[in-house]
Every structure is written in C-alpha cells, then in structure tokens.
C-alpha cells in the first residue's frame, strides 16, 4: 500500500503571527506518505502554532511562505477545504459540543470528507464500533456528546480514532501523548503505526521522548523560537533527553552540527 501512495506535504518558508506576535519564522518541512516525523521543542516554541497554521485556523495568520499538498497551494484555503484536501489535526484540547452525538458528527464529517463514497449507515456504525473496540472504548460512545464529559485520555483516543476513520493524507498529532497512561499510549501508538501502514504522512508534536519509543519516527525535528534548529534521526531525542532544550537555545547545536 505504501508504494501506491506518494503524497507530499510541503511547508515552505512559513511565517506565522498570532495577534501582533510573530511566532513561526520561515519554517520549512516536508512530509511524505508513510513517514513519521516528530516535532519536539520547549513550551512556547511554536509547535501548536504550526499545527493550527497548517490546518488553517484563521487566528493563526500566515504572513509569508506557503503550504502545498501534492504541489497544490492550499495556503489560502479555509479550514474545511484543507480538511477536504486531506489534512487532519488531532487536537491537543478538543472542544466539547453538548448534545452533538459522536455518530452524527462522525458521519457528517466523513461524508463531507468523502462525498463520493456511498456508505450505508449500518456499515458506518459497525466501522466506528470496531474502531472503538480497537481503542478500548465502549460502543456506547457513538451516542455520547462530542468531547462532552470525557476524560482527558478518552478525548485523545477519540481524536486518534478519527485519524483512522477519516483516512486523511496527512495527520498532525498535537501532544496526543499528554495525559495518557502507558496502556492508552500503547494503543494510540499502535494506531499511529497503522496510519503509517495505510500510507498516511504523520507529524507527531510532543515534549517527550516516551511516545517516540513506541512509534519510532523516521525523522525528528527540534523547534526552538519558531524555527527548526535541528533535524535528524532517533539520536536527537536522546540528545534532548540528556541536555535539554537549553542546549539548542545556547546555540551549541548549530556550532556542533556546523
């Protein structure tokens, strides 16, 4: 399957402001089908800003640069249009909508994302329930309200569930690992691997090395003060664990890389 898909997400020289503040500075990143990228960095480095800017949250203003999906410039598209181009964000803190049942939400979203697919209601429910089983969530979740009254861990699992259900081309997981216990983390990591097998390109945003031990990313990027200061393989995570992000702030990394 991997070989059949060759989607590319290009982020070129992306600068993003939030309010009056400039957060991202000429950031470059390329993600291809079936690749797992991890983006690490200290608080306030701009990790969530990158996630929100990619999916098109209007609060995050792109001042220069562009975002391309398979060469198509999507920088000016609205949120829902970017989603239909195959971008998906698992939110760090997904918002609740009281009374909006998961099943209605999921199916409305699914049919918006895949308008040409004829999917029977019954089959769709079965598919959702199967995924609920995979994430060790009760089948009754289909009747519950969107993110309403769920525990932190349940919300994260429902986000990861959508990643598998909607079959996006590219997934951004914004601190999917925070607030998860080890068992839940393993379940989510399995889901990420599954998405990778399906040919999804993945960007994992995290503070911690823990989730990376389960998913083994192909690339790790370090984001400090709005720019990627280092990219590489698994050894980078170890370096961060050993020296902390201050290591990059002091500019030692560039000195050493150079």
């Amino acid at each position: 399957m991997e070989s059949q898909l060759s989607n590319v997400l290009n982020i070129e020289n992306l600068s993003v402001d939030v309010g009056e503040r400039n957060i991202l500075k000429s950031l470059n990143l390329t993600i291809k089908s079936g690749e797992i990228h991890a983006l690490m960095g200290p608080n306030g480095a701009g990790k969530s800003t990158l996630a929100q800017a990619i999916i098109g949250n209007p609060k995050y203003k792109i001042t220069s640069g562009r975002i391309l999906v398979n060469g198509k410039d999507i920088t000016d598209l609205q949120l829902y249009e970017r989603a239909r181009e195959g971008l998906f964000l698992a939110f760090q803190e997904p918002v609740a909508v009281q009374g909006l049942k998961y099943i209605n939400f999921l199916r409305t979203a699914y049919m918006s994302l895949h308008p040409n697919e004829k999917l029977e209601y019954k089959k769709f429910i079965e598919q959702v329930q199967e995924l609920l089983g995979l994430f060790r969530l009760d089948k009754s979740f289909v009747e519950r309200s969107l993110n309403d009254g769920l525990s932190g861990g349940e919300k994260k699992r429902m986000e990861a569930l959508q990643m598998l259900l909607f079959k996006p081309k590219f997934v951004i997981l914004d601190e999917i690992d925070s607030g998860l216990d080890v068992d839940a983390l393993k379940i989510v990591a399995e889901a990420v691997k599954k998405a990778k097998e399906n040919g999804t390109g993945i960007l994992i945003i995290t503070h911690y090395k823990r989730i990376l031990d389960y998913v083994s990313p192909d690339f790790i990027h370090v984001l400090v003060d709005g720019t990627i200061v280092e990219s590489g393989k698994a050894e980078i995570a170890k370096k961060i664990e050993e020296f902390g992000y201050d290591y990059y702030r002091r500019g030692e990394a560039s000195a050493k890389v150079g």
Binding site: P58, L79, V95, V97, G99, T108, S112, F166
Partner: protein, 478 residues
Amino acid sequence: MIIIEGVRQVQKLDENFEIRKDKYDFRTNIKPVYQVGQGLTRAVVEEISRVKKEPEWMKNIRLRALEIFNSKPLPTWGPDLSELNFDEITYYIKPEERKSTSWDEVPKEIKETFDKLGVPEMERKYLAGTVAQFESEGVYSKIKKQWEEKGVIFMDMDSALQRYPDIIREHFGRVVPASDNKFAALNTAVWSGGSFLYIPRGVHVDLPVQAYFRMNGELEGQFERTLIIAEEGASVHYIEGCTAPTYSRYALHAAVVEVYAKKNSKVRYTSIQNWSDNVINLPTKRAWVEENARMEWVQGSLGSKITMTYPSSILRGEYASTSNLNVALAMGEVWKDNGAKVVHAAPNTSSKVVAKSISGRGGMSVYRGLLRINQGAYNSKSSVQCDALIVDDVSKSNTYPHNEILEDTAAFSHEASVGKISEEQINYLMSRGIREEDARSLIVLGFLDDVLKEIPLEYSIEFNKLIRLEMSKMGAVG
C-alpha cells in the same frame, strides 16, 4: 450536508436540498361565504353568535367577555404590542358553509391548501383523528372509527357546541376565565373554531390526534377555542400545527385552550407553531390536573413575529404531575416570550419545566415563568431549567423566573444558562471538513437534542430544516 440520526430517525438531508420556508407561504384564493366588518363592537359579537345559531347563554358569555376586554389595558411588561389596532381587525371569517368529514367534500382550494401542508398525509400515516381549521371555522374533522366506537369525540368547537351544549356549558371558561387576561377575554368574546376533544373514562387513544390551524389573510384574527376533557384513567396525545402566509401587515392569533385532566388520566399537548413573520401570537393555555393525573406540554415555537405564551398546569389533586417542554427559535426581528406556569395546589405533586431557546439575527428570546408551591402542598417537587443559546452578537436572551415556594417540605431547583457558539467549536468542526453553516447547525441541533426528540417526527424534521436555513443566513465568524 448534515446528518441527523437517532434512535427514531434516519434521515439524510442532501447538500443540494433547497430548504423552503415558503412551503407554508402561499395564499389561497377563496371568497369567504361570510365575514363580519372590521372592528370590535357589541354588534359584531352579537352577529358572530347569531350566525353561529348559538344558545343565549353563550352569547351572554361573549358579551360579558367583551366588557372585560374593553376594561383591561394592553400588557406592557413584555414585547411591544402597540401595533395592534383593534378597530382594523376582522374578527370572523367564515370560509365555507359545510363542515366535512371527508376530504372529498372540502372545497377544492381549501383541500389543496391542506394537501400542500401535508395534513391529510399525516392523518393517513399516524393520526387517530384530525380537525382542520381555515380562517375562523373548522372545515374538516374526523376521528377514526375504532375511537368513535369507544366514545371518543373529536370535532370543531362550533359543532360541539351544537351537539353537546351541556358538556360545553359545564366546562367552558372555567379553567381559563375571560377575566384571566385581555386576550383570553378577547377570545371569549369572539371565539370561533378550535377543537373539542373528549376521551371517555379508561380509554387510551394510542395514536395522536391533530388539529391544524391555517390563517390566510392580514389584519384578521383567528380566535380558536379548544377544550380537552380526559375522563378518569383516559389518555391522549393532542397535536396542533399552525401556519399562515406572509403579509406586510400583522395578523392576530389569540387562542384559548382549556384542558381537564381528570383523576389518573394522561394528556400530552404538543403545539408546533410556524406562523409567518407577521403573526402576533397570544394564546392562553391551561390545564387542571387532578389526582395522580399527568399533563405534558410540548411547545415548539418556530415562527411568528411576537409570541407570548405560558402554558399552565394547576396541580389540584394529590400526586398530580406536569412537564413543560419549550423550544423557541427567535431568528430575525422577532420577540419570543415563552414560559410556563405551574401551581402546586396539592401534596406530593411534581413538575418539571425545560425551556430552550435560540436567538439570532437580532432576535429576542425570553423565558418568563411562574412556579408556585402552595403552603400545604407537602413534599411537592419541582425543577425548572432554562437554557439559551445566542448565535451572534446582535441577539438577546432574558430570563424572568418567578418562584413562590410557600411550603417548607417542598423541593425546588432552578437552573439557567446562556451560551454562545464559540469560534473554537466552529473551527473544530470545520477542521473535519464541515462547512461553517453546517457546523453552526450541528451545534444548534446538539443544543436542542434532548428536546427535539420529544417532538413528533414530521415536525422535528421541520425544525431541522428551519435551523439549517437560519444558520445558512448567518454571516461568517468574526
């Protein structure tokens, strides 16, 4: 595209589906067989009574009510009613001589009107009986044979007065006396049409019955009078639907509904009004609820320019109970003043009030309620919950709950909330490929989820469509 699926309904609203509020917005070309002149005088009231060949006592009730009407000022504590000019309204319009029990006998234009509104279709599909009123008179009424044989009576009120004058005389104007308020007095003076529903002792009517009220003109009034009597141990679900075409001038709708829920009986009264934007809707609805009886009010308020309605339950017997569920849309230049009144006048009675409203495009939605637990109504319980959702920055919502708890052993709770659709919610839903207006609709429908399932399916679909239509009119976020 919005998908709404629940236990009871599987429905797909196609993205290209054009929502037509104007489904109801058409005028029927028909020359009334009779109508009184404009304005409200003693002569007009006598004229109405004479044309209807009423007994003398009813004429006297009307004339007394006219005096009460004239003596009461317009209420000023709610929406502005100053537009009403009682001298320019036509109070009685008789569309047709006959009252039919077969749609084939109904005049063609009127039958076509009710066909367009889907009334005969609903009757075939799931109703035990139907009354259809056009302008001031019932033109069709029918109760299915199996219920007729059990003694159930369902017909227009004028016919009922002719056929069952004693029952009417015994019950008329007791639950809602003419002196209750100015518009109850007006209705009592000029009432015409409405439905009479009688359920004999122990009879359970397990399909709903429906009365459908259609107004067709401007500067006219519809003053139907409805009387429901559920004898001991009986049960029934009464639905009323209301529509009218749009005009530049107003039309007045002022109904009175009296319900007798006798010992151990159960009555559900569902009202779905989708009046056009020029209708001023001021009905008075009240039930006497006797020992161990249950009265359920379900109010769906979709249309009208102004609505003031506070369905009331007087819990008169021990263990009587009531619920009042109210859902109102206040979209555009409208004022919805909805609420509930409950009086706990016996021990161990219980009540539950849930009111939800949506305001948008400058609409004003008000919850106004009275909850009274009399001293001596031991161990009575009551809960009131009102939630408002405001979908933009130019609309308003207010809550005026008035609670009088005079009994120490009573338990009472009141919760109120006012919410807004957050940008965060819109963004989240849009990030899943959903368009902004659909995201808004999903949020609104979610807010209404627990009340919409209490509304009959046909009407909850109408609600769905109307909400989608309204949300598509909303501007973009920010």
